[in-house]
Symmetry: C2
Subunit: 297 residues, 2 copies
Amino acid sequence: MTQVDFLTWQISIQQRIESALDACLPPTTCHPTRLHQAMRYVTLEGGKRVRPLLCHAAGEIFSAPLVALDQMSCAVEIIHVYSLVHDDLPAMDNDVLRRGKPTCHVKYDEATALLVGDALQSLAFHVAAQPLASVPAETQVAMLGLLANAAGSRGMAGGQAIDLESTGKSLEIVELEFMHLQKTGQLIQAATLLGAHVGGANAQQVQNLVRFANRIGLLFQVVDDILDAEASTEVLGKTAGKDAASNKPTYLTLLGAKQAHALAAQLCEEAHNALLPFGDAAVRLHQLTDYIVARKS
Amino acid sequence: MTQVDFLTWQISIQQRIESALDACLPPTTCHPTRLHQAMRYVTLEGGKRVRPLLCHAAGEIFSAPLVALDQMSCAVEIIHVYSLVHDDLPAMDNDVLRRGKPTCHVKYDEATALLVGDALQSLAFHVAAQPLASVPAETQVAMLGLLANAAGSRGMAGGQAIDLESTGKSLEIVELEFMHLQKTGQLIQAATLLGAHVGGANAQQVQNLVRFANRIGLLFQVVDDILDAEASTEVLGKTAGKDAASNKPTYLTLLGAKQAHALAAQLCEEAHNALLPFGDAAVRLHQLTDYIVARKS
């Protein structure tokens, strides 16, 4: 499979997800209209859709039905989008730019941004709980539990709390790793495992994918830290140089640029190795790993 | 059944829920400890637990297993608690007192209160997705969808958005009713229906309970409006007289005190009537309706 082939696949999944998200979101004619407009503003036409791509790529190992993968991909992506809206609020990171557009509380107002995040989180679980013909109901209940756990205080929200507490403090590399495994890694893992569960993966296969996702979660963050320091705001579509400005510990501040790049290369290799048991069936996850390393924004 | 008997039942359910909530919440020794402390601070030792009481009372019509009712009751109550934490934030109602204690952002800080609410919402779905031996998995998936819908933009969060938009405006009584059916009514209905589903209610029985819950949701709000105007902050455990101070339309401002009391009596009667098909099995829901009318806080 060539790189061109991967780009074609990536774009086709992104298009599927865009239209699936559009179908999930209440129409702007539905009351309360302003809230529904704002929910669409933050969710549609933006984002690399990394989590949906992981979900689809993992599901394709097991020839999972695409419509079911779309559904679970949307649930994970909506959780991710809600977290961005709340992270950008003045009480949190206080950011004004996201995906090249004014953040939700800037475009609308703080109360609306709060409710947009809250309503999106509910919507994510609503989407995940819609009938899923190809998957046993017991599996679907377990998937809902997995998603909720990844989003909550022992996952993404917990990681965000640790992140806030650590601003201005010096962290050990293991503490930084723990924070990112919660803040970013858990939802990335959930995206991957949901794809696998839709495809009926067995326990051993799930275990292999946990190892893969664990590396990918950290890799994603290391690259994020590098981009925050090395890319421009224009290319990123969000404020660059924020970590240094807010005195946040990052892989770059802890390791320096050279070692951070070396760590990214090492994590990429470990992620590739975790895919070996799946052979050629994991080609999309393999390519996606390369894409995460090479991304410019 | 006597009133004394009802009080005994009420206290026993409240005690079950308190210990079930305690078991749901991550321990304070679990990292991030401050977030988990704050989640416990807002959830435990407080609240009338009206939604869990409704869930149990509805479940008892169908002799539903108590442990399963505890689980779904906790899920609904945790959604309710998260909504209070976010509603009290400065960007929303900006309140300092809740259940007789400083609100979460006052006791901790705004960022923590935001994350507490977010993490509690995830926790609610995590709890609802735990194995539920007595209920078919298909039913459990449907219950998760029902809860998510009641919490989201077409339910509680949507009602809150309408509430914010309507502050300082004059509303028609039908608009006020629509707002409250979303903001309060949907979650109250979910609590009732989840209890019924745990007990295996059929479609006709569910329909009867929808009619009941619809009346109870409005009744609850009419009594809330009356108490806000007529009770003291000390008795309420939250700031009294807030509606008038913030120029919010209420049943009292729209109808006057006398007619608001008359509406409460009428809704109470309609709720009782909706229970007639269930006969004596609905005694707890009948008594709970009286309790909602008679409550002083």
